[in-house]
């Protein structure tokens, strides 16, 4: 497949506007501005573009809601918080191909009649901040941003807002709170951001990768785009693969490439020829899979059928040397640390789960602890305010579901059979 999102990024100057334009960059803006706003949304609908932030929500549907709201101004927010552990797929776009994102945002801004855009950037990406700001300045210079884009009287302004290091601020409503300067905590939905978002105005929040698909959709048309990858959710997809793998990295492949193909064909298999023990396919919040489940196509439709989710496409590969109790414990430490504290089950439950896992991991597990873990996690699952708490509970449930003997072993032997 021709590279779309990571095109030209091996070029050391790929973040520079001249390089970007050399390979045809920013050409889609002029093309888009010739179309009516609603026709762009129609193209996106035809393309079947689904959000790449994790939930896979159809982009055109979100845009239609926002366009239908009569309130002005409207805001376009790019979610570049990339906080899900294991995820680093947006990073190459932000650092190596920022103009692709900017171009995508200008097109989206035009389609949505939004005159202001924000890139909400992960606090731990300081380099990306400078790169983006420089790229934005260049785009202003060449009139791809500003009050009269491409001489067509189109207005779009863009700025970068850096987060302060909270995972929850990747959740779109918490992101908006944070963007407004408030405490990063999710808001009640409905109303949804498409109607009541930043400063109570209609707001479209899309992931970096989602928006970066726009120039290509405009270039080749929605119809042609929809032929790439899985028919139900087409397009190119970035998979970021880490862990015990020969060639970790970010891979741009057609949506729906199977886990097996990603691991063994593209990434060169398990490091040192060891045995695969478990894979987390879409970031820490998605259910872990045992080795016999890796033939499923990695897309939004098929992964749930195989007991997991595509999530952010962050594949974490673990070989036979890994203690899964420890991984589960570390995951819960993360969730406990990142719980915003708004709702009771997540605020109190993640810490409780972590402390039980900590005991087990330290050889202090007691009989009944596994049932307690399952019971506490089921008291969280489905009861929290936002998906963060659910993620924590489902991690525990799925690790126990697939690897219960390992937990039992820790409790009875008071030690770890894998790591000793």
């Amino acid at each position: 497949m021709e590279k779309v999102l990571l095109k030209n990024i091996e070029n050391t100057n790929s973040a520079d506007i001249t390089e970007y334009q050399k390979i045809g960059g920013y050409a889609s803006i002029a093309k888009a501005l010739e179309k009516e706003r609603k026709d762009i949304i129609e193209e996106v609908k035809k393309a079947g573009l689904r959000g790449r932030g994790g939930a896979g929500f159809p982009a055109a549907m979100k845009w239609t809601f926002a366009s239908g709201d009569p309130k002005f101004p409207k805001y376009l927010v790019c979610n570049a918080d990339e906080g899900e552990p294991g995820t680093f797929k947006d990073r190459p776009i932000l650092e190596k191909n920022p103009h692709l994102l900017i171009e995508g945002m200008v097109i989206s801004g035009y389609a949505l009649n939004a005159e202001y855009g924000f890139i909400y950037l992960r606090g731990e990406y300081p380099d990306a901040k400078h790169i983006l700001e420089r790229a934005i300045a260049q785009a202003y210079d060449r009139n791809f941003l500003g009050d009269d884009i491409a001489g067509k009287g189109i207005v779009f302004h863009l700025s970068v807002h850096q987060g302060a290091g909270a995972y929850i601020c990747g959740e779109e409503t918490a992101l908006i709170e944070s963007l407004e300067g408030d405490r990063g905590q999710p808001r009640i939905k409905p109303p949804f951001p498409v109607n009541v978002g930043v400063w109570s105005k209609p707001t479209i929040v899309n992931n970096v990768e989602t928006l970066s698909n726009l120039p290509y959709i405009i270039e080749i048309g929605g119809e042609a785009y929809s032929k790439i990858g899985s028919p139900e959710c087409p397009g190119p997809k970035l998979y970021c693969v880490s862990g015990h793998i020969e060639k970790p990295g970010v891979y741009e492949l057609p949506m729906g490439t199977s886990l097996r193909e990603i691991i063994y064909t593209h990434c060169g298999g398990i490091k040192g020829g060891k045995q695969l023990k478990a894979v987390i396919p879409g970031g820490i919040s998605t259910p872990v899979l045992p080795p016999d489940k890796i033939d499923c196509p990695m897309d939004f439709v098929n992964m749930p059928k195989h007991g997991s989710m595509l999530g952010s496409g962050a594949v974490i590969v673990m070989d036979e040397t890994v203690c899964l109790v420890k991984v589960c414990y570390r995951a819960l430490k993360f969730f406990e640390h990142e719980s915003c504290g708004k709702c009771t089950p997540c605020r109190e439950g993640t810490g409780w789960l972590r402390s039980i896992l900590e005991r087990i991991e330290h050889g202090e597990g007691q009989e009944g602890d596994i049932d307690l873990l399952l019971s506490v996690s089921s008291n969280i699952l489905g009861k929290t305010f936002c998906p963060l708490g659910d993620g924590a509970a489902s991690v525990v449930q799925n690790f126990i579901k697939h690897f219960r003997p390992e937990f039992e072993g820790h409790i009875t032997a008071k030690t770890c059979a894998v790591e000793g």
């Binding site: 406990e336 719980s339 009771t344 409780w352």
Partner: protein, 873 residues
């Protein structure tokens, strides 16, 4: 119409409300913790989760809006399990110290666990520890008990508008903390305490001295402090008030209180309360019996009346006393003594201003409902800070701003500074020009409608050019224009007028201009009122020119009604106003004075002059709770019962009559009873056995209160214009432009009206004294720089009539050359420095042109409230 089914029960709703509200309206209970009816929805505790058909996840009833056809179940086994699970989570880190916690017995968590919760705990780990914070003098925080429902934060930020506290840290470390650290830097409304469902934020007053169930009594009454008239519930144990709390749904304050209302009740039990009558013998006040004291009053008043005539006796009534007390007092003066020499401190502003406005727009023009302010679209504030004078009214302005209304202020108003005010801050002594400019511009835009010819004829010639306004007032032209646009386009505007403008030079003319503005924008006027029954006292006829029901004394046809009722002939001319009385005393035409529940020697400007005047009297009777400055110079002092110890009614600034109920018993007599005793002794007996008897007479005599009964009042049906007949306006308007004071000095003195104090009562309440222990000179940072002083330094402020040395407090919110000093602390009242002139129309004092000299004085030593005689109980 929406129909929803909850637990098989069909509920029909007029408009969409939350599932929780719908369920509760149908008598179905759903447990909640983070929900509070006065606060924005939150959905955090997750206790109210319910099953909704066609929705994959459980839903929080407190946030989910009902939709037609929705089917909800709240009592399934699964839901019972969810509730158990949530409560278990809330308890794992909870200290379970109910036996020690003051909240036990009224704790929502305790009650819910009892009803829905787990019976055993499964949590084996160590609980989270956070030491209790006793750093603040008034509010104690115990964050181990906090369930992070954020009710307190939503109250503080979303209702009170103080934004003083927030959730700090996140996840399991989340807890509530003031931004200022351990101590609060806030308005101390205590509304956070009211909404906390558990014992995490509590009052330190009477800590560990009672349990909710040990309260022997709980009495709903009215706050004794300001003219807003908040409903309060006083809780009592062993005949002492232990706590004052608000009640949701009450009129005016609907579940909210301010610092004075909540924490200012301790004066009631203060050990300095007078207990026995005192008579001056050989120059000293000595304890006596009631009989002897009343005999002495009777005898002396009789003698003086005999010798110098009725008009040589004068009475000062009290805006702290009930309608019944005040009615009986004025009747005593008019019938028993035979004079209209009855007046009060309402004369320092409220009375004159109200009368002026009513002459134009009719009686009751200022009787507007306070809760209506939040629903208006433009609020124009002139002459004071409503958030300190009438705090609960101030919250209405904040709410209006929050809902998108515009707040316009003349000058800077500190308590509204975070509510995007459009402030026009004219140079000193140029308000008149500015107001004229506003009237001119509004006339240009709105045109005179002709519906009020006398007002129109007074303003038709007003014409000031915008350029002149801009130049003289030194304001920005844009600001002026946007002000005018907001005013002229307002559809439901409100004008709020405070004392500062009423007590300024040319006040009556300024009031004319404000009335014109009000007329042109078709607004409603609110007059700020510092005392709980200032309005009631006027309505009872405690004014030298008005009879009960505010009927003018001079109109013979009106007078006849009272003469018939009281079987007397009344003088046909008004009596002396407050300031005329002082003047009369000084020059000898007034020989005796009867002061009820007032402290003129402290509460009136030019205290030294008042002292001299009162010293000149042949006889002074003071009836009060405490040995006030005035009582100290009295010949007879009579101890009265306080607000908490008697029945009666107050009339608030909306002219809502509300019932005061006896909270505790104490030996002694109500003010009306003492006066009745004196009157009886003087040969005119008053036939009252109870406050209700007095009110029965009021409702016969006052045309305004006709047929009104205690039952009507109890039922909340005593709203303006009651069942009575208000007088129409449209009277001839006279006003006075003043002497055109100009900026002739460098620094000016002004009256500070602090949130935590109000006259003599608040300085006898230890909580308020802890919040604000001493008098300060509030100065701007520019002034501080000019004088090279910083916080902690003292300055000496001198005027022609006196001088005071005070510690400075640098107020960053403010930048003028005014030095503000309050009138609350003994020996340190601003009135001791203030000379005044009287507005010829309003008869109120003008005090805006007090030029002062300032010098730096010795460094100030902090006053220790613990060793303070004023505070000790």
């Amino acid at each position: 119409m929406i129909t929803v089914t909850i637990n098989e029960k069909e509920i029909t709703l007029e408009k969409p409300i939350t599932v929780l509200e719908a369920a509760r309206s149908a008598g179905i209970s759903i447990p909640t913790l983070c929900y509070h009816p006065a606060l924005e929805r939150y959905g955090g505790c997750r206790l109210c989760l319910v099953e909704v058909e066609k929705m994959p996840r459980l839903q929080t009833a407190c946030t989910l809006m009902t939709a037609d056809g929705m089917i909800v179940r709240t009592e399934t086994d699964a839901i019972a399990g969810v509730r158990r699970g949530i409560l278990e989570f809330l308890l794992i880190n909870h200290p379970l110290d109910c036996p020690y916690c003051d909240k036990a017995g009224e704790c929502e968590l305790q009650d819910l666990v009892e009803k829905y919760g787990p019976t055993t705990g499964r949590f084996k780990e160590k609980k989270r520890k956070m030491p209790e914070s006793l750093e603040d003098a008034i509010i104690v925080r115990n964050m181990e008990r906090c369930i992070v429902c954020t009710r307190c934060v939503r109250m503080c930020e979303g209702v009170q508008g103080a934004s003083a506290i927030a959730v700090m840290e996140r996840g399991g470390h989340s807890h509530i903390e003031p931004f200022s650290g351990g101590k609060y830097d806030c308005e101390y409304c205590g509304n956070c305490i009211s909404v906390c469902p558990v014992g995490a934020i509590m009052s330190r007053m009477h800590r560990h001295s009672y349990r909710p169930w040990q309260m022997t009594d709980q009495v709903e009454t009215i706050c004794p402090y300001c003219g807003v008239g908040c409903t309060v519930t006083a809780q009592v144990r062993d005949d002492a008030i232990k706590r004052i709390i608000p009640k949701l749904g009450s009129p005016v304050n609907n579940g909210l209180l301010c610092s004075r209302g909540r924490f200012g009740y301790e004066f009631v039990g203060n050990r300095d309360r007078l207990t026995r009558p005192l008579i001056r013998k050989n120059g000293v006040l000595e304890e006596s019996t009631w009989e002897e004291a009343i005999h002495r009053v009777t005898q002396k008043l009789g003698e003086i009346k005999e010798k110098y005539g009725s008009s040589s006796v004068a009475g000062i009534a009290s805006p702290r006393c009930t309608n019944e007390d005040n009615y009986v007092f004025q009747k005593f003066m008019r019938v028993t003594i035979g004079t209209h020499n009855i007046d009060s401190t309402a004369r320092t502003g409220y009375a004159g201003a109200q009368q002026f406005i009513e002459n134009i727009f009719g009686q009751g023009a200022t009787a507007n409902i306070i809760s209506g302010i939040s629903r208006s679209d433009v609020v124009f504030v002139v002459g004071g800070d409503p958030t300190t004078v009438n705090p609960i009214l101030g919250l209405q302005i904040r709410a209006c701003s929050r809902k998108g209304g515009a707040v316009l202020t003349l000058g800077k108003v500190s308590g509204l500074r975070y509510f995007s005010p459009h402030a026009l801050d004219p140079a000193s002594f140029t308000e008149t020009v500015l107001l004229e400019g506003i009237v001119t511009e509004l006339k240009n835009r709105k045109e005179l409608s002709g519906s009020h010819s006398s007002l129109e004829s007074n303003i038709k010639d007003i014409a000031v050019s915008v350029e002149d306004v801009i130049k003289e007032c030194k304001i920005r032209e844009d600001d002026f224009h946007s002000f005018i646009t907001l005013l002229s386009e307002a559809s439901n505007p409100v004008l709020i007028i405070g004392k500062e403008i009423i007590q300024s030079n040319g006040a009556s003319y300024k009031l004319l201009l404000l009335s014109a503005i009000n007329y042109l924008i078709n607004g409603r006027i609110y007059l700020l009122s510092e005392r709980a029954n200032e309005q009631g006292l006027l309505d009872m006829g405690c004014a030298s020119d008005l009879l009960p029901g505010s009927r003018p004394v001079e109109v013979a046809e009106l007078r006849r009604r009272y003469e018939r009722a009281w079987h007397v002939t009344l003088p046909d001319k008004p009596g002396l106003t407050l300031f005329e009385m002082i003047h009369g005393a000084k020059e000898g035409s007034v020989r005796a004075m009867y002061v009820m529940g007032e402290n003129p020697l402290f509460n009136l400007p030019n205290s030294e002059n008042v002292k001299e005047a009162l010293g000149n009297l042949d006889f002074l009777v003071v009836q009060d709770l405490f040995m006030t400055e005035t009582a100290e110079s009295a010949d007879v002092v009579l101890p009265a019962l306080s607000w908490a110890e008697k029945e009666g009614t107050f009339t608030n600034m909306e002219r809502r009559i509300q019932k005061l109920r006896k909270v505790i018993s104490r030996a002694g007599k109500e003010d009306w009873r003492i006066i009745s005793d004196v009157s009886g002794n003087m040969g005119v007996s008053f036939p009252y056995d109870s406050a209700e008897d007095v009110f029965a007479e009021i409702s016969k005599v006052s045309p305004l209160h006709r047929d009104l009964t205690y039952d009507d009042i109890e039922e909340g049906e005593a709203l303006w214009p009651f069942k009575g007949e208000p007088l129409r306006g449209g009277m001839e308007i006279s006003c006075n432009k003043g002497d055109g004071a100009t900026e002739s000095g460098k620094y000016f003195l002004a009256i500070d009206r602090p949130l935590f104090h109000s006259g003599t009562l608040s300085r006898k309440s230890s909580a308020l004294m802890r919040l604000c222990p001493e008098a300060v000179a509030r100065i701007s940072s520019t002034t501080a720089a000019e004088l090279s002083v910083t916080d902690g330094d003292s300055i000496r402020i001198s005027t022609r009539i006196g001088s005071l040395s005070l510690p400075v407090f640098i107020d960053e919110a403010y930048d003028g050359s005014l030095i503000k000093v309050s009138n609350n602390f003994r020996g340190k009242g601003v009135f001791s420095l203030m000379e005044y002139s009287l507005d010829p129309v309003l008869k109120s004092p003008c005090m805006d042109n007090v030029i002062i000299e300032i010098e730096k004085s010795d460094r100030h030593v902090q006053r220790d409230p613990k060793n303070d005689s004023e505070v000790k109980k």
